[in-house]
Amino acid sequence: MTKEKAIIHVENLSIGYDDKVIMKDLSFDIPKGDIFIIMGGSGCGKSTLLRTLTALIPAQTGQIWIRGIDFINADKKQKLDIMKHSGILYQSGALFSSMTLAENVALPLQQYTAYAPGKISKIVSFKLALVGLAGYEDYYPSEISGGMRKRAGLARALALNPEIVYFDEPSAGLDPISSKNLDDLILEINKTLGTTIIVVTHELPSIFAIGKNSIFLDKTIKTISAKGNPNELLKNPPNQQVYEFLTRGVSHEKRTK
């Protein structure tokens, strides 16, 4: 796939903090409308990659093309335009505690559009209804559960009808049912809105339930050690680490015995 066709094209990317390299030689493409999983063990650099893709930290070397634009060398205006077409659901929801859910969801609309307050209010109610939080407009984040906070965060991420939505560990801290509901919601959004979904996770049920494509970040070799559909990777594991990860630590030898 070329960088023109992929919604996100990453080439020889190195990521890390200051002088410390966490991952290097990362190259992959994310097709439009895909549900793409970035998986790997704890501390392997999944969230760092997400932070690099969303310009929260600078890339050390390499290239990132988003929507056909060179994201690393883009000027401020181009970056803002890309971020306007992207939504992010953070691990904790990252809702502003001093604002109601409606005010949280309205914030990107106020920032990027010239809509009248009445129209913004209607969009906010619709987005909250979309994630199953109709009627919760006037609640503060502290008054709702963790799962609801994540859904409200998703409503905020979807406020501007983004082409790409990033999820950082969406299942973290959720019970199995809430986690399953969130997975269903991700699938629904991908299907109905055609949004490209990028999920950073190590939750196996989520990976197999929603993932169409994936990359596996291997901490030991500091780069990608497998690419492809997670279910296919389970059937034909390219290496021991991927197999152990996808089978919760059952070694390849034990399985084949």
Binding site: R51, A55, L80, M83, Y90, A94
Partner: protein, 361 residues
């Protein structure tokens, strides 16, 4: 007891009798990681985990595949296998211990980076202010009023109480000295000039640094921990416009009013002491206070207050924005915000006093 025998490339440790962790295990340290270690149990009467800890601390650099176990009690062997099973930390991930000179260098580099970060932050704040002047800075007026209420009206009680007490103390201390010259009546002038010129501003600054500056750092620091600052950044909203600007504006507006209040309360405190303890008539106190009141002194005090307000807001917001991502960092950010604000206020007082002296004010 542990007996050590060396045979070719192997070291045999014979464990026997009572093993309670008080044993001294003397091993040849050189290239221990390349040796084969045999742990052999012989008539072990009893053992405890202290012994396992001692044994592990001696053998911790030996790879697990170089260790063999023979006739050890089941529990001891399991514990040792478990301890050696954990992978050794990669060398590059191990915490480095720098020698003294390198540590000095590290401190120097850290200081330079802090100065750079501080300068960038001040530059961002100034840019934000300029955007505000042309109406391009985005922040919610609701947030501004909430912050203003918190650092203005809600601080009135504590500022009044502390300023009253300071006036009271000034009057007591001053009167004791002035009494020796029979000039007690000048206590009113002392308190009035002292409070309006500098004491009102300094006391209000210290109170606001502890109350509001700490609150700014804690609030913004917690937002950092909860990824709210990341969310702002990815939404393309300037954190300086959205978080720092309303806080700075709120303090700059509140400080002059709080200083006026502090001055009045300090003078009242002095009056309380003079009338009740030093038998100075109320009318005399008022007369001397009014006579010694000087608008220049008052304005110098207010100017100090505005500068202090700026310092408190900048320190509180800077340490909040640069807070780490854990609960401990929020505590550190809060402490730093208060300490740095007070230190910078004292430094600025010195500079402003010298400047006023130079200008003859």
């Amino acid at each position: 007891m542990v007996e050590v025998k060396t045979k070719d490339e192997s070291i045999i440790l014979i464990l026997q009798g009572v093993l309670d962790g008080t044993e001294h295990i003397d091993l040849p340290v050189l290239q221990l990681s390349h040796k084969k270690i045999q742990l052999v149990g012989e008539n072990i009467e009893s053992w405890n985990t202290d012994f396992v800890v001692t044994l592990f601390s001696v053998l911790k650099d030996v790879p697990k595949e170089n260790i063999t176990y023979s006739q050890l009690p089941q529990g001891m062997e399991q514990l040792l296998r478990l301890a050696f099973h954990a992978p050794h930390k990669e060398e590059e991930n191990q915490r480095k211990k720098f020698p003294f000179l390198e540590r000095i260098g590290e401190i120097g580099i850290h200081f330079c980076r802090s100065v750079k970060k501080g300068s960038i932050f001040i530059h961002e704040c100034m840019a934000s202010w300029s955007r505000q002047l042309i109406g391009k800075a985005v922040y919610r007026s609701k947030d501004f009023w909430m912050i203003l209420t918190d650092c203005g009206p809600k601080s009135i009680l504590i500022v009044s109480l502390i300023s009253f007490m300071v006036g009271l103390i000034l009057a007591f201390v001053g009167a004791i000295q002035l009494k020796t010259f029979g000039a007690q009546i000048y206590v009113a002038s002392l308190v009035t000039i002292g409070m309006t010129r500098i004491m009102g501003a300094i006391m209000t600054g210290v109170i606001m640094a502890g109350r509001t500056g700490a609150s700014y750092a804690a609030t913004i620091g917690t937002m950092q921990v909860n990824e709210e600052l990341d969310a702002l950044q990815t939404m393309g909203i300037s954190r300086t416009d959205f978080l720092v600007l309303p806080r700075m504006n709120a303090l700059l507006l509140s400080m002059p009013i709080l200083i006026l209040l502090a001055d009045v309360m300090g003078i009242l405190g002095g009056c309380f002491v003079c009338v009740l303890f030093w038998d100075i008539p109320l009318s005399e106190y008022i007369k001397y206070s009014v006579n010694s009141f000087n608008m220049t002194n008052f304005l110098v005090g207010v100017f100090h207050g505005i500068v202090f307000g700026l310092i408190i807001a900048l320190c509180g917001c800077y340490f909040g924005v640069h807070c780490g991502r854990n609960a401990d960092s929020v505590g550190t950010a809060t402490t730093n915000a208060v300490v740095y604000a007070i230190v910078w206020m004292i430094v600025m007082t010195g500079l402003l006093t010298a400047l006023c002296q130079g200008l003859g004010i």
